[in-house]
Amino acid sequence: MAASVAVAGAQHLSSVSDLVPDWARQEVSTGTTIMAVEFDGGVVIGADSRTTTGAYIANRVTDKLTPIHDRIFCCRSGSAADTQAIADAVTYQLGFHSIELDEPPLVRTAANLFKEMCYRYREELMAGIIVAGWDKRRGGQVYTVPMGGMLVRQPVSVGGSGSSYVYGFVDSNYRSGMSKEECLRFVAEALTLAMERDGSSGGVARLAVITEEGLERRVILGNELPKSTI
């Protein structure tokens, strides 16, 4: 955790008081499953809604799909504090840049700003971010900035602790040239599978579609998620 001071051989810096339960001492983490898919004309992004402090769910209806600009979003995973702070900083920088340019910013610019911050402060931060959006030059784009500060564009990207459980599903079910509706169903199914298996992911599934026309947000409640055979 970013908060614990790492000293060789020393114990974790925490009070041994019985009054404060274990989970109250832990840093808030967005356990998480996040995902983004490009399609012709835009992107579909999705995330679960669980934020945990240890084993306690601090927020069961979190919105991890954060707007950075009118047509650019980021999906946050890792430390809640770190990702919120980074997203706020990038929102400011991108807004300023967009005003200077007098035109909507590129998704690649937003992704680069995230990368700069995540790479420069890689030792202090715990943040895995997927940047997705639409711009006039390259249409719908998904860029992933995992922990460590790499930046790469991918047609489909998954992240967070729940992503490990759905790599197989995503790799075998993704096809290029899917329509918007097919992408929505694909993301919803992948999120459902991850949320079922990963303890740190759960709650509701939040989806968003970003296109030239605008933004469409959807929420799929727990009982409305696509049913699986088991």
């Binding site: 970013a2 908060a3 001071v5 000293v7 051989g9 020393a10 114990q11 810096l13 009070s15 008081s17 019985d18 009054l19 404060v20 339960p21 109250a24 840093e27 808030v28 934020t51 402090t53 306690y56 601090a58 927020n59 209806v61 979190t62 430390s79 809640a80 504090a81 770190d82 919120q84 702070a85 706020d88 900083a89 911050m117 402060y121 030792e123 202090e124």
Partner: protein, 280 residues
């Protein structure tokens, strides 16, 4: 925006907090505990704090026990802090951190409000708090619930020591958060009436008082609406001190006296002072 606070030897101290010694303290504490001693612990407020949004505004609630490890240091402390005439903040975690942080915020918010010429907004307070706490990377151990009514409406935020925030219609924090949250999850409804909402918050804090060792004593409430603020200190006292069932004194003469020796001591009375102890 962010630097490693332990690696700036060239810059002179400009006042404020300094956590340079945290690494050294961790090593000292480890060495001390090997010898059987322990470093003094910061007083935590144990605590149950809660906030809900109801029909006309927000209601904040808190217990009033402050603990020093396993001893109650203050039986009636105030955990609902003033930030602005329309914004109040409940603080849990390290008592000093919560107190000082909220006082700093109250001051900054007033200056900001004078600078903008507008009454303060809850988002402003929340953002300043989260940026302060993030800058100190969790070393300032205060968990806060900020609530208020401003020009844009009614808002309720929770802020964790590392600087993350959540915006929700009902929130609980502190060691008694789980107990209080169970009450909210069972009975919360959007747009409740004042009486029902006050009872709900009171019950949530009471759950913390009874089911959490770190929380106790009274329930404080703070009702904030567009019209104004109603600070209900000591709204409810669910944990009254018990009264003894009977008389347990023995009559003089119950124990037989075998011998009696009186030895007068020749002492001069120099000074007499009486201090009454508050045993209420």
């Amino acid at each position: 925006i962010m630097m490693n606070i332990d690696q700036r030897p060239c810059e002179s101290q400009r006042g404020g907090f300094s956590f340079e010694n945290s690494r050294r303290n961790a090593m000292l504490e480890e060495n001390l505990s090997k010898l059987g001693y322990s470093a003094p612990k910061a007083r935590k407020t144990g605590t149950t704090i809660a906030g809900i949004m109801y029909k006309d505004g927000v209601i904040l609630g808190a217990d009033t026990r402050a603990t020093d490890d396993m001893v109650v240091a203050d039986k009636n402390c105030m955990k609902i802090h003033y930030i602005a005439p329309n914004i109040y903040c409940c603080g849990a975690g390290v008592a000093a951190d919560a107190e000082i942080t909220t006082q700093m915020m109250a001051s900054n918010v007033e200056l900001h409000s004078l600078s903008t010429g507008r009454p303060p907004m809850v988002v402003t307070v929340t953002r300043q708090l989260k940026q302060l706490l993030f800058r100190y990377q969790g070393h300032i151990g205060s968990s806060l619930i900020v609530g208020g009514v401003d020009a844009t409406g009614t808002h309720l935020y929770s802020i964790y020591p590392h600087g993350s925030t959540d915006k929700l219609p009902y929130l609980t924090m502190g060691s008694g958060a789980a107990a209080a949250m169970s009450v909210f999850e069972d009975r919360y409804k959007p747009n409740m009436e004042l009486k029902e909402a006050k009872t709900l918050v009171r019950d949530a804090i009471a759950a913390g008082i009874f089911c959490d060792l770190g929380s106790g004593s009274n329930v404080d409430l703070c009702v904030i609406t567009k019209a104004g603020v109603e600070y209900l200190r000591g709204y409810d006292q669910p944990a009254q001190k018990g009264r003894k069932q009977g008389e347990y004194k023995y009559k003089p003469g119950t124990t037989a006296v075998l011998t009696k020796t009186v030895t007068p001591l020749s002492l001069d009375l120099v000074e007499e002072a009486v201090h009454l102890m508050d045993t209420k």
